[in-house]
């Protein structure tokens, strides 16, 4: 096992007094590819926000073992995307942490932005207004923003929620490549994808259960009440949806 990179100790958090997550303990290791699964409202995004520092926990602490650069793909909210800014500038904003005040983006930064746009099929939209993009294009733009700084840890909240199947496959290829020197923490509903790409799984439904390894077993689903889709392989493609335990 690699060295621990983030230690989450006894975290409880929520909004306006309500508790969404409770007594969470979790260790993220160097070069981990951690998949976080769980039902809607189970606290997946809340946990990410606490780790990144966007939400102050009511209790507990997040310990970073070394100085790290974060990349973050938030869960998409398509309502608020009409600010007059170009796609390239959105992507460049992922480098803002490395720029001093008054410091402008240089040629290197622009080249990097173009390379990523090329990779994510956004090259022709470089100067397009962000507000005119489709959901999938917005998600690709935000992914580009998250990775342009070559972060040490990449947090992804439902990275394929709006992208088509073709791009999703391409994305996971890119992520596996990145994972060689980047720790990835990914929230997803898509457990089929989770079990084929991630190294470890955490299941969160108010409290958290950690499973080393990437097997999603019925035990995980049953014992810890994670109502998620299971995908199995067979001669005919089929999926079995597990029942939510308390809805039986």
């Amino acid at each position: 096992m690699n060295e621990p990179l983030i230690e989450i100790k006894n975290i409880s958090a929520g909004y306006n007094g309500s508790k969404i997550i409770e007594n969470i303990n979790l260790t993220v290791y160097e070069n981990d590819f951690l998949g976080i699964i769980g039902p809607n409202g189970g606290g997946k995004s809340t946990l990410l926000k606490v780790i990144i520092g966007l939400l102050k926990p009511d209790k507990g602490e997040v310990i970073l073992k070394r100085k790290v650069k974060f990349g973050y793909l938030p869960q998409l909210n398509l309502n608020d995307s009409r600010f007059p800014i170009t796609v390239k500038n959105v992507i460049l904003s992922g480098l803002a942490a490395e720029k001093k005040i008054f410091q402008r983006f240089n040629k290197n930064d622009h080249t990097k932005a173009y390379e990523i746009m090329e990779e994510f099929g956004l090259a022709e939209y470089s100067n397009a207004p962000f507000g005119e993009l489709s959901g999938g294009q917005i998600q690709r733009t935000f992914l580009s923003r998250a990775i342009i700084s070559d972060p040490d840890i990449l947090f992804l909240d439902e990275p394929t929620a709006f992208t088509d199947k073709g791009f999703s496959k391409n994305l996971y290829k890119i992520l596996l490549e990145k994972n060689k020197n980047t720790t990835i923490v990914m929230v997803s509903h898509d457990t089929g994808v989770i079990s084929s790409y991630v190294k470890n799984i955490a299941c969160i439904n108010r409290t958290l259960h950690y499973h080393s390894g990437n097997e999603i077993t019925t035990e995980i689903l049953d014992k810890y009440v994670c109502p998620v889709e299971l995908i199995t392989h067979g001669t005919l493609p089929h999926r079995v949806l597990m029942m939510h335990k308390d809805r039986k």
């Binding site: 990144i52 966007l54 600010f83 170009t86 992922g94 803002a96």
Partner: protein
Amino acid sequence: MIEILSYTFFQKALLTALLASISCGIIGSYVVSKRIVFISDGITHASFGGIGLGYFLGLNPIVTAMVFGILSAFGIRFISSKGNIREDSTIGIFLALGMAVGIIFIYLTPGYAPDLSSYLFGNILTVTSNDIVLSSAITFISSAGIILFYKEILFVAFDEQYAKIMKLKVELINYSMIALVALVVVVNIRIAGVILIISLLTIPQTTALLISKKFNVIIILSIIIGLISSIAGLYLSFYLNIPSGASIVFSEAVIFMTVKLAYLSKRG
């Protein structure tokens, strides 16, 4: 057409209009893009309390209005950030309270309140040299601010959450910008009055948004559109003998409709 340029009052008015076009062009682009028009209008009306206080204490009403404007801007931000009261309700309360305080002070001030209508409806011809000095200072601060901190302002306005992750000083930038909104609005009150001033921060910018979707281009276009409409408005005001604030707003609206129609007809 040319001879009125030799009058000092007209030169002053032109200079004021130029400064206003720049400061309102910059700050208004921020207001419109970030969709904080209502809070800006609320600040304007709340600052009327400061105008009343200025009359009452015998101080320059613009200076006391600036203090009122900034305090109400911070007050609205602070109270709505606590999460109990919605922002639009908070704005509504500050707006009415500021106007009420202004009316009370003016009522309590003995004697006649000179220039009161120029604060309400605007009269660019009453602008004093002191006002121009103040306006130059605010215009300089707005221009320097947007040039020096362009990327920070842009990124924070676009996505606060990500700006926080990028370790930008989100709160500092938000509070500075809203203070700047208050200052720009108040320093230009003499042009269009408490009631109409918000149009200088919204109509040229909305017109610019029809033409471009790039923040920096919108700023430059807004300045140009603001300048053209204030010069046109000044001439209209002079020759038709109508209040300058209203004629400037009217010119802005004509430009807006022309551009809008041009785009509609282009689309066929």
